[in-house]
Symmetry: C2
Subunit: 309 residues, 2 copies
C-alpha cells in the first residue's frame, strides 16, 4: 500500500511508505510487504528447519554457536568495559536510569577489537547473508548488560519500527543476532517474542520528539504499540520465552514484536547484539522523525559491506 | 537459638526469638527450628509425593483442584469486586500505585460469601490440616489481580518474616494456597520460589516504620532481604518458576523465599490466596514492629478454628 497520510517529516522526494507509523492518526496492523527469508538451505550454514522457523516464527535459536572460552573472553571484555571510566562517559554508552549501572555499549563493532572480530565472524555473517539473500552490512551493534535485582523491563516493540521511523531504514530486510554471554533463564529477564508477529507491522501513534533517542533507550515513548494491537497480536500468536545457555545465539527478524521483563533475580544477564541489514537496504531520510539518530545507533551508509567468503 | 539482641519492640515478657529480624544489626541466615510437614499421607488427601515436595522444596502444585465452572464463578466475583465502588474505597482493598487499578482485596473469607465458602472448602482445609498436623485457622485471605501490561513486580521476601515481625506469628507453621483463576504462564508475572529456602530464615535489617503496612503492600521496604543473602540462597537453591492452568493450586510454606516479576504482557493474572496457620500458632505481640497490623492483614486471634471433618 502507498499511504496517503501526510508525513510532516517527508524530506526527500515523495516516497511510498508501506510501513506508516507515528504520523498516522490511528494505530493499526499492516501486512508485511517484504521477504523474511530470501535465501535457501544451499546458500549457507542454516538448514531448512532453521530457515523455516525464521520464516514462520520470525526467529530461531542456535545453541553453542560460540565456545565456552570465546564466551569467557567476551564476558571479560564486557566486564572491562563496565569498569572503564572512558567507556562509561562515552555518549555511546547507556546507563540504567536510577542506579547509573552499565546497560549497553553501542557501536562495539567499530570501537572494540574483540567485538569487531565477533561481528565479522563467518558463523554470523554467512547466516545473515543466507537469510537476507546477499551481502549485508551492520546497522547497529551493542553489548547489553542486565544486572541482577534491578534489571529494568523493556516493553513490547518492533526494532524495525524505530529503524524505519527514526533511521530511515526502507524495509525490514534486516536480522538481529543476540549472543548469550550468560544463561538465559525464564526468570532473569529473557527475550520474549510473539512468534509470527514479524509478518505484521504495527503502525504507532505519536510524533517523534527531537533527540528522542536520548530517552527512548532508557524509557520508551514514541514508537510504543497500542495495547489493542498488542492484544490482537497476542491472541493470534501467543508469546514464546527464549531460554538457553551461554554461547547460544538467537536470530530474530527486525520486525518481531518482542520485549523483555525486568530482572529481579540475583542472576545477571548479558549478551552481544548485532544487526545485519541487506546491503541494498541502506537508510535514507527518517520516515517519521525530525532528524536521523546518530551513526552509533543506526549506520547511515553501508560503507562496510561484509562478505563471508 | 535464643537471641540476645536488644529488641525495642519487646512488649510482652521477654520471649526467646529464634527468628530475629529488623532489630538485628547484620543480615544473615538462620536455620529453621520448626517442622515443615507435621502430618503423614494417612492424615489427608495429599499423597506421600506431595508431602515430600513440601518438606524438601517448600511447595507443591495440585492441578485442577477447582473445576472450570468453580473458577468461572470466582473470576466473575472478582470482576464484580473490581467494579464495586464500595469495595474499591474499602481500606482492605489495595490498588496499584499509579494506575489506581485493583490489586488485592483482603479478608475476603469474612466479607464475601463465595470466598468464605472457598476458604472453608474441605479440599483446602483438609490439606492444610494434614501439613500442619492438626486444626488450622485462617491468618489472612485475599484475591489478587495483576493486570496485563502494567502488573508490578513483587520482590523477594518470606511471608513469615512479615507475619513474625509485624503480626507476632511465633513460628512458620503456616501454609499458603494460591488458587489460579487465570493461566499462569512463565511470562505473565508467575510465582517464583527458591526451592528449599523455607528451611532458612533471612534476618533482615531495618526498623519497621509506624503503619508500615500502608506502603509495604504496594512497595517493599522493611523486611526486604539483603542482596548478599538472596544471592547465597539462589546459589544454593536456584529458582523455580511456577506455571499451570486455571483451577490449579500452589501450596507453599510461609517461609519460602518467593517473588513475582512484573507483567508486561497482555495476559492478566488473578488468584485467590488463603493462609492457614496451625491453630496453636496464634499471634502475640509483634516481634519487631511498634504495633500489630490491622486484623484484615493478620488475624490476631484464632477465633474460628476450622476442621474439615
Amino acid at each position: 500500500m502507498t499511504t496517503t497520510h501526510q508525513n510532516p517529516h517527508q524530506t526527500i522526494a515523495e516516497r511510498a511508505d508501506h510501513y506508516p507509523t507515528r504520523y498516522v492518526e490511528q494505530p493499526g496492523l499492516v501486512d508485511r510487504n517484504d521477504p523474511v527469508v530470501a535465501g535457501t538451505a544451499e546458500d549457507g550454514p542454516f538448514d531448512g528447519d532453521h530457515l523455516q522457523r525464521i520464516e514462520e516464527k520470525g526467529y530461531t535459536q542456535v545453541p553453542e554457536l560460540f565456545t565456552a572460552s570465546e564466551v569467557e573472553r567476551m564476558r571479560q571484555e564486557l566486564n572491562r568495559l563496565a569498569g572503564d571510566p572512558e567507556v562509561l562517559a562515552d555518549e555511546r554508552t547507556i546507563t540504567e536510569a536510577g542506579s547509573g549501572a552499565l546497560r549497553s555499549v553501542f557501536e562495539v563493532h567499530r570501537t572494540n577489537e574483540l567485538f569487531r572480530s565477533v561481528a565479522r565472524d563467518p558463523r554470523l555473517v554467512a547466516r545473515a547473508e543466507q537469510v537476507l539473500g546477499g551481502p549485508v552490512a551492520i546497522h547497529q551493534s551493542r553489548v547489553n548488560f542486565k544486572p541482577g535485582f534491578t534489571g529494568k523491563e523493556f516493553s513490547w516493540h518492533s526494532d524495525f519500527e524505530t529503524w524505519h521511523a527514526e533511521d530511515g531504514m526502507p524495509t525490514p530486510r534486516a536480522i538481529s543476532v543476540s549472543i548469550a554471554l550468560t544463561e538465559n533463564h525464564a526468570y532473569n529477564g529473557p527475550l520474549m517474542i510473539m512468534p509470527g508477529s514479524h509478518r505484521r507491522f504495527v503502525s504507532c501513534v505519536g510524533e517523534t520528539p527531537e533527540e528522542n533517542y536520548r530517552s527512548s533507550l532508557v524509557m520508551q515513548g514514541a514508537g510504543t504499540p497500542d495495547e489493542g494491537s498488542l492484544t490482537r497480536l497476542y491472541e493470534e500468536y501467543g508469546i514464546d520465552v527464549l531460554t538457553g545457555g551461554a554461547g547460544g545465539a538467537i536470530w530474530f527478524d527486525s520486525n518481531c514484536m518482542h520485549a523483555s521483563p525486568g530482572n529481579i533475580t540475583p542472576a545477571p544477564r548479558s549478551n552481544v547484539f548485532i544487526v545485519y541489514s541487506a546491503a541494498d537496504n541502506e537508510c535514507g531520510a527518517p520516515y517519521a522523525a525530525p532528524a536521523p539518530r546518530p551513526e552509533f545507533l543506526g549506520a547511515r551508509e553501508h560503507r562496510e559491506v561484509l562478505q563471508s567468503h
